[in-house]
């Protein structure tokens, strides 16, 4: 069943009195438990689509169902709540809070969660996640004391602390060397395989995109290929 369903989404910016269509009627879907890469040349609308899928932005027209809820018309506050509950973000530049320990960084999203666990439970969950990403002995380190790969793993733990349905990774290996990139990509694969986490990798790197089960290729505001998940046996679209 689909976690993400996008139907005829347009995104138009007004630049200098002229309409600039960045998304020109995109339709796509992502099933639960898929590992999908969203790729394409720069300026092709990749980032805009990712912002829309991440509920950071709303489409100008068209519909977007996340987890069977139409989120395309929500106001900023409701979108914030949706992001907190359903989406975990991993960014290219890690975006950790400076002078804040790895553990506190992972705990940060819980501050804004609608159903907050008790401090003890939240802490337990954060510790478990840091152990899961292999940073059990680095919990009290500040980001400045961690390597790039370690910082990105803290960011992954942070993205997972709210038990999101979707992990959105925006160029997660863009700032990492090739060896660490492989480690991080392996981690996404493992999370996807072992826990059935739906992962959407946004990347321009074909090598990174190759780790995914399916590659959605964008060009000029439209999806060229891989827009829909292959139909499963016994299920009709």
């Amino acid at each position: 069943m689909e976690l993400i369903t996008v139907k005829d989404v347009w995104k138009t910016y007004r630049v200098g009195g002229e309409d600039l269509h960045v998304l020109k009627g995109v339709s796509m879907n992502v099933r639960r438990g898929e590992l999908v890469a969203l790729t394409g040349s720069s300026g092709g609308g990749k980032s805009t689509l990712m912002n829309t899928l991440g509920c950071l932005d709303r489409p100008t027209s068209g519909n977007y169902w996340l987890d069977n809820v139409d989120v395309s018309g929500l106001d900023p506050s409701a979108r914030a709540v949706t992001r907190g509950r359903k989406i975990g973000f991993v960014f290219q530049n890690f975006s950790l809070l400076a002078r804040t320990s790895a553990l506190d960084n992972v705990l940060m999203p819980l501050t804004y969660a609608t159903q907050r666990p008790t401090p003890a439970d939240g802490r337990k969950r954060a510790v478990a996640l840091l152990e899961r990403v292999g940073l059990a002995n680095r919990m009290d380190h500040y980001p400045s004391q961690l390597s790039g790969g370690q910082q990105q793993r803290v960011a992954i733990a942070r993205a997972l602390v709210n038990n999101p349905a979707l992990l959105l990774a925006d160029e997660p290996t863009g700032n990492l060397d090739s060896k660490t990139s492989v480690e991080i990509l392996d981690m996404f694969k493992r999370l996807n395989a072992e826990e059935g986490l739906t992962v959407l990798l946004v990347t321009h790197d074909p090598a990174v995109a190759a780790t995914a089960h399916r590659v959605i290729f964008m060009k000029d505001g439209l999806i060229e290929s891989g827009a829909f998940a292959p139909e499963l046996a016994g299920e009709s679209t």
Binding site: D57, S77, A80, F91, S95, P109
Partner: protein, 455 residues
Amino acid sequence: MTLFPPTFAVALHALRRNLVRSALTTLGIVIGVGAVIAMVEIGQGSKRAVAESIQSLGANNLLVMPGQASSGGVSFGGGSTPTLTPGDADAIVREVSSAVAVAPVVRARTQVIAGGKNWVPLYIYGTTSDFLSVRDWAVADGRAFAPAENNGMANVCLVGRTIARQLFGSASPLDQTLRVNNTPLRVIGVLVAKGANTFGADQDDIVLAPWQTIKFKVSGQSAQTANQSVAAAAGATGNSSTRFPSQQPSPYPLQTATEAADFPAPPLPTFVDQILVRIGDEADIPGATRQISVLLRERHRTRSNQPDDFNIRDTAELSSAAVATAQLMSGLLLAVSLISLVVGGVGIMNIMLVSVTERTKEIGLRMAVGARPKDILWQFLVEAIVLCLAGGAVGILCGWGGAWAVRTFLHWRTEPSIPAVIAAVGVSAFVGVAFGFYPAWKASRLDPIDALRYE
């Protein structure tokens, strides 16, 4: 922390992360509130000091004068009929709560002689030692009247500087004797120099003695008033026996000594020329005037359709000056306080705006992980308010410290002020909200995409 929204903890955490900057930011409020507290405490002290100087001029004095007398349609002006008794003075101090000191006064004007010199003092007052408290006057050398001297006819007196200089020159007048109307009075004290009053009359040209001494020994053994105007009035309106002394025997012969002893005359009422009342607070003067008026009408058994047989005068000019000075100083303090707090608030707003800009990425990240605009608004607002309140608390301590230093090292007068503390806390919280709101609102309106991409 369960009581507060979690953003509260985030705000505190953010402040702790930038401890030095937070401290510097709040310095404006610290100085502002500290200045307010110190200024108010010093100002209250100065205000009280100024008020007391004005009071020593007699701003809180009430003067009760006897009513007017008239004869044949001719009025003799205020104070020309004897109606006030020493009992009235005692009743005022007993019944009127705002009257802190009351002194009956008997006046005389005659020559004083000491050694080979003589002088006619401007004021010869028969009174009690309360006169000194009413007029806020201290004894420079010697002592005031003892209680026994107050109510007796002791031959003692206090003299002003001018009398001391005129009669005794550079010698100490203490324990010297001066004669007033042939009554010898021993000088037991010299008053502090007061100078001229607002009308140029030399206030130091004064002799004070117990009122019965003046009444019965100096002013002549008249049981009637010592007020000469009445006697003069009686003469002026033509008591024929004084103008045309009769040669015929008196129809009412004088009592012999035995007759006088056998039939003692009832004691005649004694009258005083005026009663001076000191009111504790200028603000109570109108109320005290009313109370004294009611009390004296009752004591004098004045019927409701009859006019007062006395007049109460206040030094309205002086007391209004005292009130105006107090208001002026309060206004001045308020203006200074407001300015310093506004300056402090602008400082906070400035740093909060810098902080919002500096933490744009952080705000974007927080929004991405689910922070609503409301959460961001609260976080920055709480930061500003906490900064202001902490600054306010430190400022209060600094203000107290400053006031203490001024009191200890400069020997200025200060007065602790609880309203100032409450106001400082309130105003610093208000400044926090007022100047923290704009930066916080700006932060909450950031677009998460732009904020995340902000470098």
